[in-house]
């Protein structure tokens, strides 16, 4: 049967030819109270920790992380672009002068306009159960709806959580993603600031999604937010992570971390809408653990940034746990998108599914690096990986490096990969039906992404569609 609601989404998006221009760059410096920069040293870390009034254990963890950062070598497989990050001379901590508030009208209009332009207050009002919005290194806005509070759901900035819920933070913080994992995980551990802490109590189902929104407005900045989400037994939550940055004159660096803990019978959906400007080098360290009968779903639209390295991973550690990862990346001129998921099957009858879709044009590079591991004892497990590449011209590149480590004979592990080249005849066919060349191209690209886009709430899918069209417009006309 025909589902009309579904079509109206397509029509609106495909036909709205006018696309707002990118946000103009303004200086946010006047809203910065404190920028700590002077080389990455022990005293810098101590100062950040002091500003945050952190407990002793947190400072010790930071200093340990700094030590590790200095010891661990830079991974050898990283693309050249990563060298653009000047780790010795970065704004490691940029504290906004705006007091954290739960009222948008408290936020100066010069800053608020960014959030308005991106529709954040609007989607909060219509849609979200809670929102934490971060500017530079600290959250400036935090509000959770009453119904969530009534159910004893905790959603707050990491700073507040460290003060108010130290025991639970201490128990989970960097547990599944140890700071020793790699050099940038260590750097994150040393400089971590901001991010969201969420705890969903046993049996509580949070129907409205909650969002953490992260904005970088300063060039040469490092943003190191940490999001920690614990879904207790039988609970349900959908967390949306939004990322944006206007154009900056030199590269900023994002090195965030996300840790998800899905307890028995719980469900976590974690959606990322990443639209950094082309000046951002994006590392995101994402890992989940999934206990018995739980489900972890990663959905990621990684459309922005110059270089992006994101590998949402799940450790399926309880029997019958399942996880999916759906990632769409887009790489155009001078951009490199490195993604891929790791699914570690560590318990019997666990299931995973990975769908990776990448779009390349104007010399963009997309890389998939994935791992499916089925441990001894994880019998009757199933994993399926699908990697699709859409090449819009002859200059873009797509590389796929799937990796399987299977130690149970009855594991069912499958991988499929397709490369699709957009061709002249497809464009001509759609154009002969009255759509312009750029509309036809958008239609082909959005169609390719559809399987993942439909996982996103409407507002977010619409935003990403717009971004896609803006990017595609750069291709110009072939004719």
């Amino acid at each position: 049967m025909v589902d009309e609601a579904e079509y109206t989404l397509d029509i609106k998006e495909i036909l709205s030819a006018s696309v707002e221009s990118r946000l103009n760059k303004i200086s946010l410096e006047e809203f910065h109270e404190r920028i700590v920069r002077s080389g990455l040293t022990r005293s810098l870390i101590e100062e950040v920790s002091k500003i945050k009034k952190e407990p002793e254990w947190m400072l010790r963890l930071r200093l340990k992380a700094l030590e590790l950062f200095e010891k661990i070598p830079t991974p050898s497989w990283l693309p050249e672009m990563v060298k653009e990050v000047n780790l010795g001379e970065m704004k490691y901590y940029v504290k906004p002068s705006i007091q954290k508030t739960s009222n948008w009208s408290d936020i100066p209009p010069e800053v608020r306009k960014y959030y308005d332009a991106l529709g954040i207050p609007e989607s909060e009002k219509r849609y979200l159960g809670g929102l934490v919005a971060q500017l530079e290194s600290e959250p400036i806005y935090e509000r959770v709806k009453e119904e969530l509070k009534a159910k004893k759901v905790i959603m707050t900035s990491m700073e507040t959580a460290v003060q108010k819920y130290p025991d639970i933070v201490k128990e989970y913080y960097t547990k599944i993603f140890p700071i020793s994992d790699h050099k940038f995980a260590a750097l994150h551990g040393a400089l971590s600031s901001g991010g969201v802490f969420v705890y969903v109590p046993k049996g509580v189902k949070v129907q409205a999604p909650v969002e953490g929104f992260f904005f970088i407005g300063t060039e040469g900045e490092g943003q190191f937010e940490h999001t920690l989400l614990i879904a207790d037994e039988g609970s349900y939550i959908h967390f949306i992570e939004g990322c944006a940055a206007p154009r900056l004159s030199s590269s900023s660096f994002h090195d965030g971390m996300v840790e998800l803990y899905a307890k028995d019978n719980s469900y976590i959906k974690f959606t990322t809408v990443q639209n950094w400007s082309k000046d951002v080098i994006n590392f995101n360290n994402k890992r989940a653990w999934a206990d018995r009968n739980s489900t972890v779903e990663w959905v990621e639209g990684s459309l922005g940034a110059k270089l992006s390295l994101v590998y949402p991973s799940t450790i399926l550690r309880g029997e019958n746990a399942s996880s999916t990862s759906m990632v769409v990346t887009m790489a155009s001129e001078n951009t490199w998108k490195d993604s891929g998921s790791k699914m570690i099957h560590a318990a019997p009858r666990t299931r995973s599914r990975v769908v990776s879709k990448n779009i390349g044009f104007m010399g963009g590079v997309n890389v998939y690096r994935g791992l499916i591991r089925v441990n001894k004892g994880a019998y009757q497990s199933k994993a399926h990986v699908q990697c699709d590449s859409l090449m819009l011209d002859g200059t873009s590149k797509a590389h796929t490096y799937p990796h399987n480590q299977v130690f149970e004979e009855d594991a069912d592990v499958a991988h499929e990969a397709h490369t699709i080249r957009m061709n002249e005849d497809q464009l001509f066919y759609i154009m002969s039906r009255g759509l312009s060349e750029s509309e036809a191209r958008s239609m082909l690209v959005l169609g390719f992404m559809d399987e993942i886009m439909r996982e996103l709430p409407f507002e977010y899918a619409a935003l990403l569609n717009k971004v896609v069209k803006l990017e595609l417009d750069k291709m110009g006309s072939v004719a």
């Binding site: 029509i11 002969s432 009255g434 060349e437 072939v478």
Partner: protein, 249 residues
Amino acid sequence: MNTLEIIDLKVSVDNKEIIKGINMKIREGEIHTVMGPNGSGKTSLSLAIMGHPKYKIVSGKIILNGEDITNLPPDEKAKKGIFLAFQNPIEISGVKFSALLVASYNRIVNPSMQPSELFRNIREVIKKIGISESMLSRGIHEGFSGGEKKRAEVMQMLLLKPKIAILDEPDSGVDVDGLRAIGDAINKLNAENRTAFLIITHYRRILEYVKSTNVHVLINGKIAASGGSELAKLIDEKGYEWIEKMYKK
């Protein structure tokens, strides 16, 4: 009165001349048929009129109602009321057939129609042409049989109600029921909308259902003979050879 004029049209593909000077005048309500042996340039003619970038118009003009549309992009031509039903419509998986129908209807016919009303129209033409509604939610032509593709093309024609419809071999690869449905669609649009047709046919089966007002025989990129429906009958009996011989003289 809608009129499509093709004036001394020359078309080349990869620098090889395929259409070598064609003249044709198609008036409102007329049904022109282009016949000809394989490789005579029939499909090239249809793609060149619609504006496929590979089919380069080297010289000559295409005039619609007095306006020169020779070098307009395909979408502009479509918006002016020209429709092409492809001989082998390409498969585009990922883009829903319904999304294309909605987008093209909004572009060509009416940008502000309510979705519910639009879907009523779509259902109506689907029923008329005899395809299943489930095809709408598939990718464009994804998994369609040869016959289904032909019907789907003609279904779009019914939906978009063009002024000039170019149908490239609507009769090859369809069963008898399909052929009748396609013939009915042509006759209906011709009668109700005064749509003019340029029907390219290889096997002439469509002429059992549709009365052609003008018949052209295309040989080696040129029109070798033009006439009424009696010309089609002659070709049916004698084939193309005699025209070729006559033409060479």
